[in-house]
Symmetry: C2
Subunit: 241 residues, 2 copies
Amino acid sequence: MKPHKAKALHAQIREDIETRIVTGQLMPGDQLPFEVELMQQYGCARMTVNKAMSGLVADGLVVRRKKAGSFVAHPKLEQNVMETMDIPEYARRLGKSYRFRRLSRTEEFLDNAAAKEMGVRPRREVVRVTGLHIIGGQPLAHEARVIFLDAVPEARDALFESEAPGKWLLDHVPWSSAENEISATLAGPEIAELLDTQPDAPCLVLLRSTWRDGVQVTFVRQTFPADRYRFKGRFTPGSDR
Amino acid sequence: MKPHKAKALHAQIREDIETRIVTGQLMPGDQLPFEVELMQQYGCARMTVNKAMSGLVADGLVVRRKKAGSFVAHPKLEQNVMETMDIPEYARRLGKSYRFRRLSRTEEFLDNAAAKEMGVRPRREVVRVTGLHIIGGQPLAHEARVIFLDAVPEARDALFESEAPGKWLLDHVPWSSAENEISATLAGPEIAELLDTQPDAPCLVLLRSTWRDGVQVTFVRQTFPADRYRFKGRFTPGSDR
DNA sequence: TAGTGGTCTAGACCACGGG
DNA sequence: CCGTGGTCTAGACCACTAT
């Protein structure tokens, strides 16, 4: 009946409590057993119980206060994991072909206006790239990107003729923190023609700034026709990791 | 010089490694020291090292393979934590007033068309609520919500005249998993008038289905004028938790 | 002040999987 | 095979905080 793969005890304890929380047997604010009680219930060491509880805390399901005990956290829907902002990955999931078509590539120094829009200091030398993400033969998104050459000097030699700058950067910049903004706009005449849609078509706009070790690496604006793409996300407390 | 608040050793180890990763000293795929080496370096027990490494794995910064060792993970920008989809919380952060103005409330049985749109079976009895989220006197979003009475029978007695249904649900539904979809649309004549904007104004649309223990609790469609609200998110691998 | 969680140790056994 | 990580123990001391 049970799955043959026996789970670790700390994972079992964690799941037991998690189940009682998500099913509503335990309500937000309810107190959980003390560690001492749990180690008696499960007949294990306190470290094992502690590992289970620590995981629940990391997942935001439980809050703990010294001397008081452990309690079911009050749910927050404020944070949601949004997936598939990586367009090639999105295409792969759909089983469709993907290609990037470069429209332009220039090297220049940021003027004041552009720098202000991105919130960086002006006069930084950059590579500007625009292009289309094409999935199954249809353009899914228009992309306008800036890559800062002082952060990624190797970009000077990259042409991005068929390889999307985003993928290139993931392979050349070791790790990054990113800020995203999702907004909406009308396609407008130029992008409408490129995306083969109407100028008054509503579009999703993703703005992303990526940083590495304190210096901005890239800034990108991706425009998706609303009828072709939507951002999907899921919030399942503690189901993963 | 050092902050007087000494951090836990496992947290210190974790930060040391994390720093080397995010600054690029360690590149994706690079091998990390074995646990035995780290316990010698830091002069601590293996459990302590293991706790640090487990945290890095949970944050997706590190992958571990038995016999092979531990390696820096390849970065993915696929998942991003989006914040502030909770409108009252958003108002609070801005230091502005918040109120919910109910526009309508009905109890009915879902017809086939509506059920299909939400992906649930028809003939379920629901409460339908529409209203406006008003921040600093200005309408920020229009909301159209369905609450399933078989999942939340208490909703029959809730009027939602000034309390937003979202907040009410958080207080009455213990925990939930949620699916979100972000899209874009034009305001249209009706919502434009309610939101005090133009019918052809681009708007962000948030669709959210919330489930509890396998049954759908609510479905909501929130419409934000694009010039008043945008979703912001951050992706800082391992910075929090 | 006393109870609780936070942390750490110095061992141990085992499953997995690379060589 | 045998090194690695995964897990667990039975203690211990300490920091915090509710009472």
